[in-house]
Symmetry: C2
Subunit: 167 residues, 2 copies
């Protein structure tokens, strides 16, 4: 919590130690995520996006149009959060929301021309990180891998058929 950064182990950790460390991990994870989002806020505001909207747009730019359901699986958000976010993106003119004819339960999220164009403008957003990241490239890579491994673990039971069936 805040300080007490050094952890030194000379013996094999038992289950209790592991859980304790896991618990200690929660705070910097929570705080770090929050602070990074804060860094992004201003540059994103300039191009008319919130952080969550930015995440949505990044997925659409990378993987193309998809259903709200699929989108939610990719970014770990349920319809309770996603529906209002998508409605705002629609109001901003970056996406269209369209019921799927073959199965009216699904809503397909479609990038508009403006939504596609926004990708270029968004290229400048990561510059906000400059002067705020004090990790080396190797450290960033390591952090990236560890976070993804942790995420994978959390989703062991959550079957996300990742690339397949593009609803």
């Amino acid at each position: 919590m805040g300080t007490g950064k050094e952890i030194i182990m000379t013996e094999l950790p038992n289950k209790s130690e592991v859980l304790k460390l896991g618990n200690q991990l929660c705070f910097p994870l929570y705080a770090c995520a929050k602070e990074v989002i804060k860094i992004y806020r201003k540059p994103l505001e300039k191009i008319g996006l919130t952080y969550t909207q930015y995440i949505v747009m990044m997925v659409l730019w990378k993987f193309g149009n998809m259903s709200e359901k699929k989108l939610g699986e990719k970014i770990y958000l349920d319809s309770g959060t996603l529906t209002p976010v998508l409605k705002k993106l629609e109001k901003s003119g970056f996406v269209k929301r369209q019921r799927v004819a073959e199965d009216e339960r699904f809503v397909k999220i479609i990038l508009t021309d403006n939504g596609v164009k926004l990708k270029q403008k968004a290229l400048t957003v990561p510059q906000a990180l400059e002067g705020n990241i004090y990790l080396s490239y190797d450290e960033m890579t390591k952090l990236y891998d560890l976070l993804n491994k942790a995420l994978e673990g959390i989703n062991k039971r959550r079957k996300v058929n990742d690339e397949s069936n593009d609803n």
Copy 2:
């Protein structure tokens, strides 16, 4: 986003590469923090806390009573978020909020007897992580260190006189 986990570098990364990786880092950080908080939700509910309230209580248990200001610095929250959280903790009977006589601007947050007792009950909370963490102890340590280093970097300009002057 979601996949594309492998990053392989054979040459020295330029600034653009670093920013790009930094940007890629944002999503797993955001998603991982969210998922971990989700894991904690149920066990915390049993002892009558939300995640943010748990963070507050952990700081108070570890460092003792302190002003709202000090608390906010430690957990990266401003009064806009913290004041309502603390009012709820007060209503739940875990803390008292008391103006400081010497400087009426400050509010001191004080653990009640029930607030102190809650620490014992909270010991079972980390067990929620069992079966959800798929990182080795070494990996967790590494992740912990990297997150704290990143946090330190973000706060280079944010002077938190961490342990000192206990307001």
